[in-house]
């Protein structure tokens, strides 16, 4: 018996004891079920809140290291107590509501945004059998709930009655809704390969235990994984897509006017969403909790930590993009490429079928799963390279035109300057 099994058993015993205790008080029935569910939901929400505090510290420390700074180092050893200090500050800071604000809308917005961010975690599988609820529309539910936060952002922007806020909110929403399209389209290949939208089924398909073939979907749809990650970063408004809080342009975007706890809730929403994107990426493309030797939740933790570190790395190194670049990148590059990618995966998956029985009944060539994965991988990478080449050529042409234009203008200026000198 390993250490992990001991921990597992202890957790199981404690959980069963709590459930038995609640049932013994309320009697088996709807009310007891409700209380147990509420308890579970509260635990998930609290874990998210604690994770939020930990993530703020980790991000500040790691980004500081990337940028050759030290980061928080005053509160406690290595600044480890910084999140607690921040929490105390958030609780005790005066909270002003602008006199001109639309009070109800202004005060409700942070609550709505935090609730929508937390709702995502209701369907995420943390370990085999450990999941809030295994909805059969899991992925779709996550995307739908994620889209709900746009309304909250508009509420915040409108409610503040501040020009920066409203402009920031409008920009943010235009960005969020734009990048939702590639996200939606790149979940499709995963759903097709797994044959289900349930997150538990998707993870199981990537394990060796229950009917899966043990190949993570990142190997079968690498392009989808890449675009999903990019649009996920944009959806959470992190650098390099952090136009919504472009401090130098619109001060802080839609939450300029917020302070104290309400501001903290916006921050919580942001980090909880970023964590949700990392977890979704892990579940959809990296096999979730699947992995050898180590217990499932440790694998999930490791993979999520790796993806989140990648997000922090990007945040620490990349400069912010311009709003028109942001829009063009999405609508003129990601969306068309996603559409072509969906068609590609669809056709290849139907021509080279991994399941011999299905190949017999529906037509198509039966191949071993690893060969199918290999073909999918190569074609996806080929598509990526082809589209990159195409874009590079277009960009070079644009640059040439621009350079010509500049040369022309310089020549004109020289003539003008000569005239001035002559005068």
């Amino acid at each position: 018996m390993t250490v992990f099994e001991v921990i597992n058993n202890i957790l199981k015993i404690v959980g069963d004891a709590v459930a038995a205790f609640i049932i013994s008080i309320l009697g088996a029935g709807g009310l007891a079920d409700f209380v147990i569910m509420l308890l579970a939901a509260l635990i998930i929400c609290s874990i998210c809140a604690v994770a939020f505090m930990g993530l703020t510290y980790a991000e500040r420390k790691i980004v500081a290291r990337i940028q050759d700074r030290i980061g928080p180092n005053q509160a406690g050893p290595y600044g480890l107590l910084q999140p607690i200090a921040d929490g105390i500050k958030m609780f005790t800071k005066e909270d002003t509501t602008p006199a001109e604000a639309d009070r109800w809308v202004y005060n409700l917005a942070p609550l709505v945004i935090a609730v929508f961010a937390l709702l995502t975690y209701a369907v995420i599988p943390f370990a085999p059998g450990v999941v809030g609820t295994n909805l059969n529309i899991g992925v779709f539910y996550v995307i739908a709930v994620g889209s709900g936060s746009t309304v909250a952002i508009l509420m915040a922007g409108w409610g503040s009655n501040n020009k920066y806020s409203l402009l920031g909110a409008f920009r943010t929403v235009a960005q969020l809704v734009g990048y939702e399209v590639p996200m939606l389209l790149n979940v499709l290949p995963v759903v097709m390969l797994a044959g289900s939208m349930s997150l538990v089924d998707i993870v199981e398909r990537q394990t060796l235990s229950n009917g899966g073939n043990g190949i993570p979907f990142i190997l079968m749809a690498p392009l989808s994984a890449l675009i999903f990650l990019i649009s996920g970063i944009a959806e959470t408004g992190r650098s390099p897509f952090d136009l919504l809080e472009a401090e130098s342009e619109i001060v802080a975007g839609f939450h300029v006017e917020y302070s104290g706890m309400k501001f903290a809730l916006f921050f919580l929403g942001e980090y909880v969403n970023a964590l949700a994107v990392s977890i979704m990426f892990t579940v959809l493309f990296l096999g979730g909790y699947a992995g050898p030797i180590l217990p499932p939740y440790v694998w999930l933790l490791l993979k999520v930590a790796a993806v989140f570190t990648l997000l922090m790395w990007l945040r620490g190194t990349l400069p912010r993009v311009r709003v028109d670049q942001l829009m063009s990148f999405n609508w003129k590059f990601l969306v068309p490429m996603s559409i072509v990618n969906v068609i590609l995966v669809m056709v290849i998956g139907k021509v080279f079928v991994a399941d011999a029985v299905l190949a017999q009944s529906n037509g198509g060539i039966a191949v071993p799963p690893i060969v199918q994965a290999l073909i999918l991988f190569t074609s996806s990478i080929a598509l990526l390279l082809a589209s990159l080449l195409l874009v590079a050529r277009q960009a070079r042409q644009l640059r040439l035109v621009e350079a010509e234009d500049i040369e022309k203008r310089v020549a004109q200026n020289k003539v003008a300057a000569a005239k001035v000198v002559a005068q």
Binding site: A144, G148, M155, V177, V410, A416, A417
Partner: protein, 231 residues
């Protein structure tokens, strides 16, 4: 009363209440928000009807997209809060809405009316695409829907027509957008014209300004460069 009935009544009250508020609120933005609440309640109805996919689609399309569209449209109008929105034809609108409601209830509701020997409406409600298949595999409702959508014998043609509808909507949107953009440009031009007129009145004599700021800088720089070259 079962729990489901209680939930149904509560959600209905929320949906109808917020729908009434949508049409009575003066503030257009608040009206849009009440509409979101109403949409959310409708998603709740779908959950009660065991159609989780449609509930999520309702949230994704109506709350995540349509309401955003509405709010953007609201912000296109000039007076969001104060505008007087009396509608002289509201009686006619109410009558039309009532008639449409009756027709819908007849078509979709679980009853039929016989007029002169012909039966209108369907007493066997709800009609599912393949009721038996859904009863056989209640969890795989979405899969059955998908199979039906791409089967030419079932819903293949409407499925393709939906794509064409989206295309037509795109063309229409771009058409409207061009018109609106044209009007925007016109207004901007008019405003600058007014500004110019004011300027002319105030400063009748004015040197023609150089076209672009940066060009003058460049000219300055190149003149300097020329000067240094001379030295």
């Amino acid at each position: 009363m079962t729990l489901q009935q209680i939930l149904f009544i509560v959600i209905s009250l929320v949906v109808l209440g917020s729908a009434v508020l949508v049409v009575t609120t003066r503030n257009l933005f608040h009206a849009a928000l009440f509409l979101v609440v109403s949409f959310f309640g409708v998603a709740g109805f779908y959950v009660l009807l065991d159609a989780g996919f449609f509930a999520a689609a309702q949230v994704l399309v109506y709350i995540g997209a349509i309401s955003i569209l509405f709010i953007f449209a609201v912000m296109l109008t000039r007076d969001v809060i104060t505008a007087q929105r009396g509608n002289s034809q509201w009686q006619a609108a109410a009558i039309v809405a009532g008639v449409i409601f009756l027709i819908m209830a007849l078509l979709l509701g679980p009853f039929s009316v016989t007029i002169r020997g012909r039966e209108f409406g369907n007493a066997n409600w709800p009609f599912a695409m393949d009721g038996n298949a859904i009863k056989a595999a209640p969890g795989n409702f979405v899969g059955i829907l998908g199979t039906g959508l791409v089967d030419l014998n079932q819903y293949g043609v409407p499925f393709l027509l939906a794509a064409v509808l989206l295309l037509v909507a795109m063309v229409g949107a771009i058409w409207v957008a061009r018109e609106l953009r044209g009007r925007e440009a016109e207004r901007a031009a008019a405003e600058t014209a007014v500004d110019d007129a004011d300027m002319d009145a105030n400063q009748p004599v004015q040197e023609p300004l150089p076209l672009i700021e940066t060009e003058t800088h460049e000219a300055h720089d190149s003149r300097n460069a020329a000067a240094t070259e001379k030295h």
